[in-house]
Subunit: 159 residues, 2 copies
DNA sequence: GGCTTTTGGTTCATGGTGTGAACCTACTCT
DNA sequence: AGAGTAGGTTCACACCATGAACCAAAAGCC
């Protein structure tokens, strides 16, 4: 390779870093706006919507599970779950083996709303990806995957 | 190509959409944590740090400009600016042409802190990109750029 | 069995982020 | 000069989130 041997760790040119930072900031902003818009659209709070979506993966969840998945203090979950229960989207059932635990699951209305939400969310992603040339889509998503891994690795370096 | 001609708009396979959504969610989470960590590290609030960074581009800013750049209500800016002024990082000077306006600019301490912050921030980006194979970096950032554009376009479609 | 300890959840106090309305002052436009 | 407009501040309010205190039930342990 024709690299300058004198420089010890130049590696990444400044303009790339600058672009990268700016792009990431923009994308984060977009994501935030989108999730707000989406919650609004379905008449939920953002946190509630995020919580509701967890029931796409599992039929029954406990507050503790939700707290872990959402990466949020358990006291916060109490509120969020209460909101969803009030709205009639999820319900509590007693755990037969442990009376401390409420098993949370979707009501029919919750199920139905979740279906709409996931459809809508998928549609949004589809729209975004449609602006990308078809032959680039796989490459981009692979890039993103690599980037995500890098970001997680970097994060874990900070304690 | 060997596509089924019967389906009108299949286009993007489901697994791609799914990956995409999950990756974006993860990355957004990472970004959020990082900016929180960063603010903490420099003893600022997140909003204050974001505000401070704006002074990297321009020497003088008004509350109105900041509000536009941060995409936040002007009442919020009052608070954020007050915080930065209290901390001695920015100062207000009267606008000679319009006494309603305060021209905001960095104090020496603010300047110094900003320098540290941008250095740190650049370093974080560098670390992240270093986990990416060097020959892929440019490609990934170009992908990101394309994706950002798509996301903005998609966002603008929703009113 | 009785004791402590742990665990799942709730409530409360607190603080950061943000909006929108009301308001004041100063500028602008006739 | 008077009406309207623009920059800022303050206030009331809502959401997101944490940590501490607390309770009840379960698990461990003599």
């Amino acid at each position: 390779m024709n690299q300058k041997p004198s420089s010890p760790a130049p590696e990444i040119p400044a303009f790339l870093l600058r672009d990268f930072q700016e792009i990431m900031a923009d994308m984060a902003q977009c994501c935030k706006e989108r999730s707000q818009f989406q919650a609004d659209r379905f008449g939920l709070l953002e946190a509630e919507l995020r919580c509701l979506m967890l029931f796409g993966d599992e039929r029954y969840l406990t507050s503790k599970h939700i707290a872990r998945k959402m990466n949020v203090a358990k006291s916060r979950i109490s509120k969020i779950v209460a909101g969803l229960v009030d709205r009639g989207l999820i319900k509590r059932s007693p755990d037969p083996d442990d009376s401390r635990i409420s098993l949370l699951s979707l009501t029919p209305e919750g199920q139905s709303l979740l279906t709409q939400v996931t459809a809508y969310s998928r549609e949004m992603s589809r729209i975004i990806l449609q602006f990308i040339a078809p032959e680039q889509r796989v490459a981009i998503i692979e890039s993103l995957g690599a980037l995500r891994t890098s970001m997680k690795t970097a994060r874990d370096l900070l304690e």
